[in-house]
Symmetry: C2
Subunit: 455 residues, 2 copies
C-alpha cells in the first residue's frame, strides 16, 4: 500500500535512530547488576508503544524482570494479533572480541552492530513501527496487542505465571513473533518450528580444597580430568548423544519432509568458509540443515575450573564446572530430558568425585501448521514485499514460551523473522541489517491486512 | 648449642614479626601488574640479608624479575654453603576461598596463614635468621652465600643465564634448599628427590566466532567438547598416561627402594578424610606414595571456554583452553616430554578444529645421593633438633633449577624442608606452622656446623 510506503520513507531515519537509542540500554537479564537497566528499558518500551499509537500500556511487575503489555483495540469483534517479543538481551562477553561497544550501536556497511540489534530489540521494534504506520495512515483494521517480556534470554521463568493469570488480557486470534531468521531477503523463508531447550549446570568436586599438583597430583582425582571424561562420553563416535532414553520421544521426520528440507538452498563450502572451519561436524546420517532443524543436540556452553589467569599455576583444583544445554525437537519433553541429563551425569560420575547438576531453564519445542491462517497470512505478506513466497524451514533456536502460549491461550504462533543466521546472535558483534529492519516494518502491515481478510 | 638457643629464644617474636612483614608484599611473579611488588620484595630481602650479617648483598636485574644475591665470607679456604630460595609466590586465586587476606598474614592456632608463608618466604627466611644467629653468637665457621630468586613459580626462565654467567660468584660446596616438606616434626623426613615439570597451555579453536548454540549447535564442532575428548583420552582406564613414549625414559624404582618407601608412615583413611574424598585415584599398580614420588603424572591445572558467568548463555564458543602439566621423574627429559605432549595434542585433534599448544615452562627431575656429605649433615642436624634421624623420601613437587645448579656449579643439592604436605601450597589458606619455622631456624646452624666438620 502506497500510504504505508510513503509514511515509512518519510520517517525511516527516525525509526532507525529510535532503535539505536533502545540498543544503548544494557538490558542484560542474566546479570543482577543490570536490574536498573532492565527497568529503564521496560519504561522505554512503554513510552515507544504509547507514541506509536497504543491506547493502553502497562508495566507488570513479576518476581523477576517486568513484562510490558500494550494494546490498540479498535473493535472487539475484529481479529486480534498478539505480538510477542523481548527487550532483554544476552550477556555481551567476551567483551574483547567486540569491534565496537556492545551497547554503543554503530552502523557500518548497512549493518547495525550492537547487542540486541537482531535478538530481539530490532525485531520487536519493527512491530512497534508497523503499528505507528497503521495508526498514522488510518489503516489499522484489526486489534493489536503487545507482550514484550524481559526474561526470554534466561528462559522466561516468570512468564508462564503471568500468561496464566492474564488470559483475558492476552486473548487473541494469533500470536506473531519476530525472533527468528530468514535465509535471505532474496530467498525468503518462514520458520515453522523452534526447538525446545534443557539448560543445566554441573559442578564436579574432587578434593575439598585446591591442592599443589606436585604434592598431590597423580594420587587424587582431578575434577577437570573427570569432568572432561564425563563430557567426552556424552557423544559417541557417530556424534549420537549417549544419554539413555534421550531420543525416545523424537518425532522422526518423514522422508517427504526431509526431501522438502533438502530443497532449501545450502552451500556447504560457503557455510564452512563463513565459519572458518575445515570440516563440519554432527550426527551421522543427517545433513547440516537436519542437524540444526529436526534433530536434538547437546552443546557445551561453558566450562571452567582451576587456574585460568595469566601465566602458570601448578594447582590440582577442588572443583570444575560446565554449562550444558540440549536443543529438543517434538515430541521430546524438556522436563523429562532435563531429568535424564542430570541423572545420567550423576550416574556416570566415578566415586572419586561428587557431582551436583541443576537446571538453569528449559522450554518445549514448537511447530506451526503451514495450513493455518496465520502462516498463510505471513507467507502472503512476505511475497508482497519480497517478491517470492517464502520457503518453510525449521529453525534451530528456541523460544521456550511458544508451547505455553498455545496451551494457555489456545491460539497458533507464527514466526515472522527478518534476522539472518549470520547476525552473530549471542556472540560478539551481533548485528542486524538496516535493510532487513526496514523490510520487516514494510511487511508487517500486510500481515495484519491479510490475516484480517482471511479470518 | 646453648648460645644459639638462647639467642633465638630472646629474638623469636621479632623473627616472626619480620616474616609477617615480608608476607605482606604481594610478590606474584606470574602477573605483570605485580612488577613493582616484586622489586619491593627484592629490596626487602636485600635489607634483611644485610641486617642478618651478610657483608655483601646485590640485586641483579634479569630479563624478568631480579635475583637477590648475598654472602658472608669468613675465609675462602673454608667450606661454602649456597642457600637457594625464592621470594616470589603463586597467584592467590580463587580469592573467595581464603578465610583471611592472602597478603594480610594472621596467626591462628600456631599457624601463619598467608600466600608464601611456607612456599617459600617462610622457609628461605629461616636461613636468613640462622645466619643472624651464627653471626651474632660469633659461631659461624664457614662461608654462606644466598641466591634468592623471583621467578621460581613461573619456571625460573632467567635463572639459567644468571647461573651460567656467575659461576665464580656462586662457587660453593653444597646447595641447601628449604622449599619442600617433611612428614611431621615427630616423624622427620628429608626429600631425596624432586620431580621435573613440563607445563603447557593448549588452545582449541572451532568456528571463527562465538555462535548461537541453537542456530549452529549440532552442525559445527564445539571446541569445549573436542577439548574434553582430547583430555579424556590422555589417561586410560588404569590411569596410565597414553602419550606414546611418555614412560620410555622413566628410571624404574628397584624393589628395594619401593620397600623402603612403603615403610614411611601413611594412613590412607586419614589422607582421604583430610582431602574429603571417598576414594583415591591414580595409576594402577602403585601406592599413593609411589604415585606422587617415583611415577610421572599428568594434571589439568586449568580449563576455560564459552560463557562462565552468572546465569545461562546459549553460546557455542569459538575457543576453549586448558593448562596442563606433567610431573617428571628421572630420567625423563623435560624438553622431550614437552615435545611429546604438544605433538600428541596436535595429532589427536580432529580436523574440525585447530589446536595450538605451547610451553609455559619446564624443568628436570633431581635426585640427591644419600651418601653425600650434604645429605648426611642435614640428617644429623635434624636428629640434633628433632630427636630422630629423618626418613629419606621422594617429594612430588618440582624445583626446576636443581638439575641446572648441579650441571653448572658441579655441586650436590640438599633439601632441608620444614613445610608440611597439608600447608596448602599453591592453594587458598596457605599456611606455615610457627613451630616448624622455629625448628627450621634451630636446625640450620647445626647443618653448617656438621657440614663444615665433615668436609
Amino acid at each position: 500500500m502506497q500510504a504505508w510506503k510513503d509514511y515509512q520513507e518519510k520517517n525511516k531515519d527516525r525509526f532507525l535512530e529510535e532503535l539505536l537509542e533502545l540498543l544503548r540500554i544494557p538490558s542484560i537479564s542474566a546479570k543482577s547488576e543490570h536490574k536498573a537497566d532492565m527497568l529503564k528499558c521496560a519504561e522505554a518500551v512503554k513510552d515507544r508503544l504509547l507514541k506509536a499509537g497504543a491506547d493502553k500500556v502497562e508495566i507488570f511487575e513479576t518476581e523477576g524482570h517486568p513484562v510490558v503489555y500494550g494494546e490498540k483495540i479498535i473493535d472487539s469483534a475484529k481479529p486480534t494479533v498478539l505480538v510477542y517479543g523481548h527487550y532483554d538481551v544476552q550477556p555481551a562477553e567476551p567483551l574483547d572480541l567486540w569491534k565496537s561497544g556492545p551497547f554503543e550501536p554503530v552502523i557500518i556497511d548497512g549493518k547495525i552492530f550492537a547487542r540486541g540489534s537482531c535478538d530481539d530489540k530490532g525485531q520487536f521494534y519493527m512491530h512497534v513501527k508497523a503499528l505507528e504506520i497503521l495508526t498514522q495512515t488510518g489503516t489499522l483494521n484489526n486489534n493489536v496487542k503487545f507482550i514484550i517480556e524481559g526474561e526470554e534470554e534466561v528462559g522466561s521463568p516468570n512468564l508462564a505465571k503471568f500468561v496464566s493469570t492474564h488470559k483475558e488480557l492476552l486473548k487473541s486470534d494469533v500470536i506473531l513473533i519476530s525472533d527468528t531468521a530468514l535465509i535471505s531477503l532474496d530467498t525468503p523463508s518462514l520458520d515453522i518450528g523452534v526447538r525446545g531447550l534443557s539448560y543445566i549446570e554441573v559442578e564436579v568436586t574432587g578434593p575439598n580444597r585446591d591442592l599443589h599438583s606436585g604434592v598431590y597430583g597423580g594420587a587424587v582425582a582431578n575434577p577437570i580430568t573427570i569432568l572432561a571424561k564425563m563430557i567426552a562420553s556424552l557423544h559417541d563416535e557417530n556424534n549420537h548423544i549417549t544419554i539413555p532414553g534421550f531420543y525416545d520421544d523424537v518425532a522422526v521426520a518423514t522422508d517427504e519432509e526431509r526431501k522438502l528440507m533438502a530443497q532449501a538452498p545450502f552451500d556447504e563450502e560457503e557455510y564452512k568458509k563463513d565459519l572458518g572451519v575445515k570440516e563440519l561436524w554432527g550426527e551421522k546420517g543427517f545433513s547440516t540443515n537436519e542437524r540444526t532443524g529436526i534433530r536434538p543436540t547437546l552443546e557445551l556452553n561453558g566450562i571452567w575450573g582451576g587456574y585460568t589467569g595469566e601465566g602458570a599455576k601448578t594447582v590440582l583444583p577442588s572443583k570444575a564446572f560446565a554449562k550444558i544445554s540440549a536443543r529438543l525437537v517434538p515430541d521430546q519433553g524438556s522436563d523429562k530430558i532435563t531429568s535424564l541429563l542430570i541423572s545420567h551425569l550423576e550416574k556416570i560420575a566415578p566415586p572419586n568425585v561428587t557431582v551436583k547438576a541443576s537446571l538453569h531453564h528449559g522450554g518445549e519445542a514448537y511447530m506451526t501448521p503451514i495450513d493455518s491462517i496465520g502462516y498463510k497470512a505471513a507467507s502472503k505478506a512476505m511475497e508482497a514485499t519480497l517478491g517470492k513466497a517464502p520457503i518453510p524451514v525449521r529453525g534451530g533456536g528456541s523460544i521456550p514460551i511458544c508451547a505455553l502460549f498455545e496451551k494457555e491461550l489456545g491460539v497458533k504462533i507464527v514466526f515472522l523473522g527478518f534476522g539472518l543466521d549470520s547476525d552473530n546472535l549471542h556472540s560478539p558483534n551481533e548485528k542486524f541489517n538496516v535493510e532487513n529492519f526496514y523490510k520487516g516494518i514494510e511487511t508487517i502491515p500486510y500481515f495484519h491486512q491479510y490475516f484480517t481478510e482471511m479470518s
